[in-house]
Every structure is written in C-alpha cells, then in structure tokens.
C-alpha cells in the first residue's frame, strides 16, 4: 500500500496537469465570454454577465452578418467542391486514368505549400479580374484549398463500393448512367457527406485566404474574431471563437459515424 499510493497520486497529478494544459486555454475563452469587466490584477472577471452574448447574437449586429456570410460561403464552397470532386473522385476510383498518381498529388499541393505566398498572388490576379473582395472569389479560393479532402475522400468512397452490385445492375439491363445514380452514388453517399463536412469546416475556419482575397468587403467569422481580438475586444473575440468551435467539436465526436473504416483505409490510394 505504501508503495502503490504515491504512484497513483503521481499519475493522477500528471493527468490533471495534462487536462489543465488541454482544457485550460478553452476555459479561459469561456471565462472571457461571460466577463463584462475584467482587468488586472483580478484573477477572475470583476463583473459577470451575458451582455456581450446579447451583442453578438443581436439579429442586426455585425457578428450575425459575419455568421451569415461565413455559412453562405461554406455552403457555396461545398457545392463547388462537390460539383468538381464527384466526377473526379469517380474517375480516380473506377476508370483507367493516365498519370493517376500525379493527379492525386496535384490536389494535395495547395495544402503542402505555404499558403500566404500563394494567396497574395491570387489576390493580385483577382484585382485584375474584379474578383477581389467578392463572395465568389473567396468561395473558389476555399474550394481549391479544400479539394484534397473532397477529391481524396469521394474517390475512397467510390472505391469502397462493391463492384459486384454495379455489375448486377448492368446485367439486369440498367444503363451505365442509371447504375451510377441508383447504385454507386447512394452507396458512396456517406463518404461523400463526410467529405462535404470536411470542406464545410475547412471553409468555415479559413482565415489566411479570406484575409487576402476577401478584404475589404467580405467579413467572415474568423476575420471578425481577428479584428475584435486585435482591437482588444476579447469578449466578442471569445464568443466568436466559441461559435467557430462548436461545429468542430461536434464533428470530432461524430466523424466516425460517416467515415467508416472501409472508406478510411482507401483514402489517398
């Protein structure tokens, strides 16, 4: 007993320290969101309250406008990404393609290069085309960046569909198009939905691209968070951060429901 007990206490302390390191920064965010007044040297907010939540969620406020912009951009990004990725994913999974490996790598490149250097030039090109500071410009920037998720995951989803089921449909007289829309696509749907969620979150959380391409007209939640934080308004910044956090955490809890092992094992192949 005398030998076991210190070990257990030490382990518990270690776990507590780790829990503090992981949850502490998030706890600080929550504290700030309920702090109406908080200044040095007070360890905790001087006045607690919901005032800033009311400011953020006021229907006519800047935050709700940014939220609406963010969600519209994310939904449009999903539409654009899926429109090009479903055909591409199908071709990569099912058809014999020349340079298949190279094509797969090309979709990874936007994630593998330092983004700032690319975005400053995209913004410069967009000025010439009249796309700078427009929703459309931001949407295609987000879509190109997220293509690696949508193409790789939809391709894995199509690869995981049992070929025999497609052949059975063809044998009983279904056309290739009908087979695709009634057999292959529905069976691949959970994987495609998973890729759509990835793209949605990638767009919702995107900061750097919007920072260069969206200014000065497009203000998304991450841009609002940034300007509120740099302006010293930690309450608005923290509440905005919490709004951005919610979908990410929900996704982490439910990702396995959409992304089954059979699809996961085929990603990137």
């Amino acid at each position: 007993m005398t030998r076991v007990l210190p070990g257990t206490v030490l382990r518990a302390l270690l776990l507590a320290a780790l829990a503090f390191a992981i949850v502490g920064p998030l706890a600080n965010l929550v504290l700030w969101s309920f702090a109406e007044r908080w200044y040095f040297p007070f360890k905790l907010p001087v006045t607690w309250g919901l005032r800033y939540w009311e400011v953020v969620f006021r229907p006519t406020g800047v935050a709700m406008a940014s939220l609406a912009t963010s969600i519209s951009i994310a939904l449009l990004t999903v539409a654009v990404a899926l429109a090009v990725s479903v055909p591409a994913g199908y071709a990569l999974a099912r058809l014999r393609l020349p340079f298949r490996a190279v094509i797969m790598i090309v979709f990874l490149l936007p994630q593998a290069f330092p983004g700032v250097a690319i975005y400053i030039n995209v913004a410069r090109i967009f000025y010439g085309l009249g796309l700078a500071g427009t929703i459309a410009g931001v949407v295609i920037v987000h879509a190109a960046h997220a293509l690696v998720y949508s193409v790789w995951i939809t391709s894995a989803a199509f690869a995981a569909v049992d070929r025999d089921l497609e052949l059975a449909a063809r044998n009983i007289g279904a056309s290739p198009a009908r087979t695709f829309f009634t057999v292959t696509l529905p069976l691949a749907a959970p994987g495609i939905i998973a890729s759509a969620i990835f793209v949605f979150l990638e767009s919702l959380d995107e900061f750097t691209g919007t920072f260069f391409v969206g200014v000065p007209n497009v203000s998304t939640l991450p841009l609002l968070l940034y300007s509120a934080s740099m302006g010293g308004n930690y309450q608005i910044a923290s509440i905005t951060a919490l709004i951005l956090l919610l979908p990410s955490i929900l996704f982490m809890l439910f990702v396995e429901r959409f992304l089954k092992a059979d699809v996961l094992s085929k990603i990137g192949r």
Binding site: N28, F40, S85
Partner: protein
C-alpha cells in the same frame, strides 16, 4: 487513347482546372515575380533586399518551426507510447479521451485561446500562483516566441499522436511482450522496439506538421509581438503596407525552399521504404 481514358480525363478536368487556376498559376506568378526586377530584368536583387531586411526573421521562423516540430514529436511519442503500452487502465482511458480535443480546433481559435491563457494575468499564470508553484511577483507574459511554440505544439501534438497511436496499435505485440518478458523497462521498449517500427509514420506526420506551422498566419500575428516575427507576417506586411510584391514573393520562395527541404526528406524515406 481509349475512350474510357478520355472520359476519365474529362471527368477530372474541372477539378484540375480549379487547382491550376488558383494554385499552379499563382505559384508560377510568385516565383516569376521574385526573380524579376522593377526594370524587367531577371536576377537576385529581390532576394538580396529580402535577406537584408528579414534575415533575422528567416532565422526566427526556422527556429520556431523546427523547435515546435521537435517538441510536437516528443509530446506525441509520449502520448501515443502511453496509449499503447500504459498499464494503468484509467490513465489510458483518461488520456485517450483528453488528448484529441485540440485536433479540429481552428488555428485562429487556438490563437485567441492562447492570447488570453498565456498572458501575464491569464489563467495559466493565475493557476500556477494559486497552487503555490510560483510567486505572484514572478509571473511573466508568455506572449512571445514561447507562446507561438506552445500554441503550435498544443494544436499539432494531438494530430501527430493520433497517427502515431494508430501505427503503434498495428505493430506486432509479440515483439513488445518478448522484450518485456526479458526484463526490458517500458521506456526502453518504447525507444528500441516500438519507435523504429513506426518511424515512417512519425516522419510523415512531423513533415505535415512542419509545413502546416510554416504556413500559419494567425498564430504569429495574434500570439506574439511584431519583432521578431515569422515570414508569413512579413509577407502580409510587405503587401499591406508597401504593395511590395517582389520582396514578398522572394520571401515566399524562401518559404517554398524550407518546404522543399522537408519534402526531400519525405521522398527519401518513401523511396527507402519502397526498396525494403
């Protein structure tokens, strides 16, 4: 070319066009701009100016990214190693539940968290003071290079640990059991038996983490002051304050080169793996 191949290429074309227009073209543009002088001639003057103004920040960026990646690796090995070889079941369960939380948190949210958490009057200092570990007079703000590194490790270690724990779970348990039966301590077993088997996974995860931290703009902007700072912030400043594309793009090419160095390591590992 068979009709199936042609149809396949047709299906891939829209997606490739999107990447070409929004990545390959701007990439080419940035390299071209970096080597082109104001009078249209080709040369290295933009790089000379970039080094003259920002050599300190280039060194600082390398220091931050390399240190963050190394610490991320150590923390991830500790987490994944304990998840695989830990013998206290409640600690393994607790750790498995805890460590993933930062995984999907956006960098900008992580930056805002740390901006408050690591401040002089933040929750980190206040908790250390309240628990008697440090004196209230000794608290310092960690919102400088330390804060940037802490934020990167906080955000990236779960990602590397997740990949590493997956790789560790799939190695042959018999080798671990054999070493344990011969009396090897767990730490030695982890270093000499388990780590060599998951080294390729660790390598890939750390390379991805390296490139990610090299690209982030929000964390150095929000967590640390402006001098010294990382190349991403310098590029943004060069554009927003001066509209100076040539020097900003020269810095961009420097960051591509940093990526190229780790990509070379990756390719070398990948090729070696294929040979065996």
């Amino acid at each position: 070319m068979s009709s199936q191949r042609l149809f396949g290429l047709l299906l891939v074309t829209p997606a490739l066009a999107l990447v070409t227009a929004l990545f390959l073209v701007p990439l080419g543009y940035s390299v071209l701009s970096a080597f082109t002088h104001a009078d249209g001639s080709i040369g290295l003057a933009n790089f000379a100016k970039a080094f003259e103004l920002y050599s300190g920040d280039i060194a600082y960026t390398i220091f931050i990214v390399v240190t963050s990646t190394a610490l991320t690796g150590l923390v991830a090995i500790a987490i994944a190693g304990y998840l695989t070889m830990g013998e206290t079941s409640w600690l393994v369960t607790g750790l498995a539940w805890l460590y993933r939380w930062p995984l999907f948190i956006p960098f900008i949210v992580a930056a805002q968290c740390m901006r408050t958490f690591l401040a002089k009057n933040g929750l980190a200092n206040n908790t250390l003071v309240a628990s008697g570990l440090i004196d209230a007079a000794d608290t310092v703000s960690l919102l400088d290079w330390r804060g940037v590194i802490i934020t990167f490790v906080w955000k990236q270690a779960p990602f590397v640990a997740l990949l590493l724990a997956g790789a560790m779970a799939s190695i042959d348990r018999a080798t671990i059991e054999a070493a344990r039966n011969l009396g090897a301590r767990r730490l030695r077993c982890l270093i000499e038996i388990v780590l060599p088997q998951v080294a390729p996974t660790l390598m890939v995860a750390l390379i991805l983490s390296f490139v990610t931290t090299l690209s982030v703009l929000s964390v150095p902007l929000m967590v640390a002051g402006s001098q010294p700072t990382m190349l991403t912030v310098d590029m943004a400043f060069r554009i927003n304050a001066y509209g100076d594309y040539p020097v900003a793009n020269a810095l961009g090419v420097v960051s591509y080169l940093m990526t190229a160095v780790v990509a070379w390591f990756y390719l070398r590992t990948a090729l070696r793996e294929r040979e065996t």
